[in-house]
């Protein structure tokens, strides 16, 4: 019904999501490991400790986020192309495949459990999104315009 004009069409949005998730992970990893490295360093070594923790760990966090986001976007596009519709189930299916793909080296049981966990997580996200959407629609529900009192002519 309503197309989302804030996101690019499908093959390109994968690159966008890769980069967005990677940047989010790197920046978040800088904050996280900056604080962690600061707190875990002895006095006098706190800023060097924070800096070395950021340097060694933030890119890895960014990479993990980026691979997750990019894979999710790829699967999302694939599911969209196959199902030819856009609904919350797309994200759940894509999450199932992402969880499975990322755990595929851990054996069959690990792959299955990760896929199901990830699909449930995405289902919760989508459910919260739907609830929020309904709440926004309820808040902005259409109101009847106030009628003018008396028989005033409408001449402008």
């Amino acid at each position: 019904m309503s197309a989302d004009h804030t996101r690019d069409p499908c093959p390109y949005v994968i690159l966008n999501d890769f980069g967005g998730a990677f940047a989010m992970g790197v920046i978040g990893g800088c904050v996280w490991h900056g604080i962690k490295g600061f707190r875990n360093s002895p006095y006098g070594e706190r800023f060097p400790g924070a800096l070395s923790a950021i340097k060694s760990r933030a890119p890895g966090i960014g990479g993990n986020f980026g691979v997750w986001g990019g894979l999710f976007s790829t699967y999302d596009c694939a599911v969209k192309a196959i199902r030819k519709r856009e609904d919350p189930l797309n994200a759940i299916i894509a999450g199932f495949f992402v969880g499975g793909s990322l755990a595929i080296r851990g054996g069959w049981r690990h792959t299955r459990n990760s896929a199901i966990t990830c699909a449930c997580l995405l289902g919760v996200f989508e459910g919260v999104g739907l609830m929020f959407q309904r709440y926004m629609a309820w808040q902005n529900k259409p109101m009847a315009p106030p009628l003018p009192d008396g028989q005033q002519p409408l001449a402008a």
């Binding site: 004009h5 804030t6 390109y12 994968i14 690159l15 966008n16 999501d17 890769f18 980069g19 967005g20 990677f22 940047a23 790197v26 800096l51 340097k55 933030a58 890119p59 890895g60 960014g62 990479g63 980026g66 990019g70 080296r105 315009p145 009628l147 028989q151 002519p153 409408l154 001449a155 402008a156």
Partner: protein
């Protein structure tokens, strides 16, 4: 912009006309006699009262989807910023730049690791162990190169957008300067010499990128 500000030719005609002509004009515009209106439902039930072609030009109903072009979806307006893909601003540049470079680094590093892993295979190992050897090499090389290249791309795009915003336009000089800055920042804990090397390499790479874009006509 006529859909937003109305059609200028029609303006201010009624200021000089008499009361009767202006009433008839309003009638012809609205499609009903305004003095007979008592409630909203009589407007709606008037035949032709809700003809979209008679509505105010502000509605812009004859312009297709144009009235949905909100401000935050317009394209980047900085001079010279038009590039290979349409961009909505610095965040789009950042996402596409980081994503492309990260994926390229991951691919190149993964291929390098794949070849390396193939060379490390023991002929006497069973198949599962051979697969693991190759995959270990791939996941060692690929993310390393991808992460570092992605961080460099983030730094480059952030500094490039900052320089663009300060100067108010985008050109090749901005890109090379942003490359030099990001290279220096990437190695800022390794001493001045390393910083200078990294800066020069990144300036060269971004210069090559500018040349590549120029050869495509951007």
């Amino acid at each position: 912009m006529s859909w937003l500000f109305g059609y200028p030719a029609k303006k201010q005609e009624d200021s000089t006309s008499t009361a009767t002509t202006s009433t008839s004009q309003i009638d012809s515009q609205l499609g009903f006699d305004a003095s007979t209106i008592s409630d909203v439902s009589s407007i709606i039930s008037t035949p032709g009262g809700l003809d979209s072609s008679r509505l105010h030009p502000l509605a812009g109903l004859d312009k297709g989807i144009e009235y949905l072009d909100l401000e935050d979806e317009s394209l980047n307006a900085i001079e010279g910023s038009q590039s290979l893909l349409p961009s909505r601003g610095w965040s789009d540049d950042l996402c596409y730049g980081a994503g492309t470079v990260y994926l390229a680094g991951l691919t190149v590093g993964g291929a390098q690791g794949f070849l390396e892993g193939l060379g490390k295979i023991n002929r006497s190992d069973p198949g599962k162990l051979r697969l693991n050897t190759v995959l270990n090499a791939v996941t060692k090389r690929g993310p390393f190169l991808g992460n570092n290249a992605g961080v460099l791309a983030i730094l480059y795009n952030l500094s490039c957008s900052t320089i663009d915003g300060v100067r108010g336009k985008h050109d090749g000089f901005n890109s090379v300067a942003a490359g030099a800055l990001s290279g220096a920042f990437f190695k800022c804990t390794k001493g001045v010499k390393q910083m200078a090397y990294a800066s020069a390499i990144m300036a060269g790479v971004s210069g090559a990128w500018v040349g590549f874009k120029a050869s495509l006509g951007y």
